[in-house]
């Protein structure tokens, strides 16, 4: 910083002013934090219903008792999340590639891809879970899965493949046209240009929005509970029904947060340096 020994008085004055400003900013931030959070806490803790809420939502004994069971259920959520996510990444890419292709022979597939995205992105995920989870077994066809976990996973996969396909497509279309031109000019075929030039650039840009969808999927896995599998939310609900205490739901929420918050931090870090992520 200090290249020369002689620092002018003007510069010292400027630096002192800068420090004063920083100190004042810190003080204001501290005071306003105490006032806002303290006020909020006081407001809730002094509310007439607080003792009862504390008992039914934040009961330490219930938490301790229910946590192992909820955690066990959460393990199913994690497994389902990982499997569905992998399937979604592959299916979404396939749909996006079909939709961005221009080959005449792929026209029917393009049409199907468009329909798929319109239908499954446009339908509430919870509705899909109901329709697939209860509708498919009702067909009574042999060979189709009847396990509610598998069916729930399929429903989530349909919904998220549609979202992720659109994310991929946006990424592919965001790669400058000159890149395709240059790839063709050096003698690559259309599919080689996609594979070696366009997709690698698209995927780098896609990491933040894809991770965003990861976080959403991780939460939506709880929707599978309506089909009955003993995942975290379902178990928490059962325990809550038995002893009329909502603390197990708080335990489940904490488990979801334990996964989604670190994921969100990763998203932020990648989003913050979206251009830097190109290297």
């Amino acid at each position: 910083m200090t290249e020369t020994a002689a620092i002018s008085a003007r510069r010292l004055e400027r630096e002192a002013a800068k420090r004063r400003k920083e100190r004042r900013g810190l003080a204001i931030a501290a005071v306003s934090t105490v006032v806002v959070l303290g006020g909020l806490a006081t407001w809730i803790l002094t509310s007439p219903g607080w003792p009862e809420v504390r008992e039914t939502f934040f009961n330490w004994d219930v938490f301790k008792d229910s946590f192992p069971e909820v955690l066990e259920g959460f393990w199913l959520d994690v497994k389902l999340f990982v499997i569905v996510e992998i399937a979604v990444l592959i299916a979404g890419l396939a749909i996006a590639l079909v939709r961005t292709s221009s080959a005449a022979a792929l026209f029917p597939l393009r049409l199907l891809g468009m329909l798929f995205v319109d239908v499954f992105r446009g339908t509430p995920t919870i509705l899909l879970v109901y329709l697939v989870g209860f509708g498919v077994p009702a067909l009574q066809l042999t060979g189709l899965p009847t396990d509610p976990i598998v069916l729930g996973g399929i429903a989530l996969g349909l919904s998220y493949s549609a979202y992720v396909a659109e994310v991929y497509r946006a990424g592919i279309n965001s790669v400058h046209r000159g890149q395709r031109d240059a790839a063709l000019a050096i003698g690559l075929s259309e599919s080689q240009a996609m594979r070696f030039v366009i997709l690698p650039q698209a995927v780098r840009r896609l990491a933040p929005p894809l991770l965003n969808d990861f976080v959403a999927l991780q939460k939506d896995v709880a929707l599978v509970s309506i089909l009955g599998p003993a995942e975290a939310f379902r178990i928490a609900q059962i325990i809550q029904g038995e002893n009329f205490n909502f603390t197990p739901l708080i335990a489940a929420a904490i488990l979801y947060l334990a996964v989604t918050v670190p994921l969100a931090r990763v998203v932020e870090r990648m989003g913050g340096g979206a251009e830097g992520a190109v290297r």
């Binding site: 000159g178 031109d181 000019a185 003698g187 690559l188 080689q192 650039q201 190109v278």
Partner: protein, 248 residues
């Protein structure tokens, strides 16, 4: 001298806008032809049509006597025999300089990695980029990027080189190094079609200059004739405007 590139009556329109209105032009073996003309006169479009990045409406283009603009011709095979350098370099930003140069050799021409990289290094060194093999494009200056792009286009051993205003996006002090690379190719006998705004360069390197105006070649001939004593009023006006802008 046999013609490497023959362009016969080529027309091209984008919707209502007629960009090329019947282009006839030959480029002989080892010849460098400079295409001059105002922005929007059709220079870039003509080069893109020859490299089959755009489909022409009428006419034909021949490479070594074979028609390349027939719908039955595989455009990928044609592009492998041509080299195109873009105004905006269009390097692949996710690849290093060396990877940019060897991608086409390895994937389009089926050359093994070791051989392609050896040739790639030699090419980069030839264009003054020794030591920059592992730099990504955004760590290189515009002039360096354009020289990587020239090495990349050259790596496929093209029959003819198409240069699309390769110095127009460069800061003035970087123009010289890119023109030196083109001069080097010319000295080697590369057949070239050069769209350019650099009149002094056209005069120095080109064997022939063709003036493109509103989608037609209005006149062509030796540089000293077209650039010094043009016959057509439009050519005179174009050159005097460049002179006023201090570009000559």
């Amino acid at each position: 001298m046999s013609a490497v590139l023959e362009i016969h009556g080529v027309t091209k329109a984008y919707g209502e806008r007629q960009v090329l209105r019947g282009i006839d032009l030959d480029v002989s073996e080892h010849e460098a032809v400079a295409l001059i003309g105002a922005s929007g006169s059709g220079k870039s479009t003509l080069l893109r049509c020859i490299d089959l990045l755009e489909e022409i409406d009428d006419g034909d283009v021949f490479l070594d006597g074979e028609v390349i603009t027939d719908p039955a011709v595989d455009p990928v095979a044609v592009r492998r025999r041509l080299g195109l350098v873009f105004q905006a370099y269009n390097l692949f930003p996710h690849l290093t300089a060396l990877q940019n140069v060897v991608l086409g050799e390895m994937r389009a021409h089926g050359v093994g990695r070791a051989e392609a990289e050896e040739r790639g290094r030699a090419l980069l060194a030839r264009f003054g980029l020794e030591g920059r093999e592992h730099d990504r494009p955004d760590n290189l200056s515009g002039g360096q990027q354009q020289r990587v792009a020239i090495a990349r286009a050259f790596s496929g051993k093209p029959r003819a080189f198409l240069l699309d205003e390769v110095t127009s996006a460069l800061d003035p002090e970087l123009v010289g190094e890119v023109l030196a690379a083109v001069r080097d190719l010319k000295a080697e006998g590369m057949t070239m079609l050069i769209a350019t705004h650099e009149m002094s360069f056209a005069r120095e390197v080109a064997d022939r200059v063709a003036f493109l105006h509103e989608g037609r070649i209005l006149e062509q001939g030796p540089p000293d004739q077209v650039l010094v004593s043009p016959e057509r009023e439009e050519t005179k006006r174009f050159l005097s405007r460049l002179l006023e802008a201090g570009r000559i």
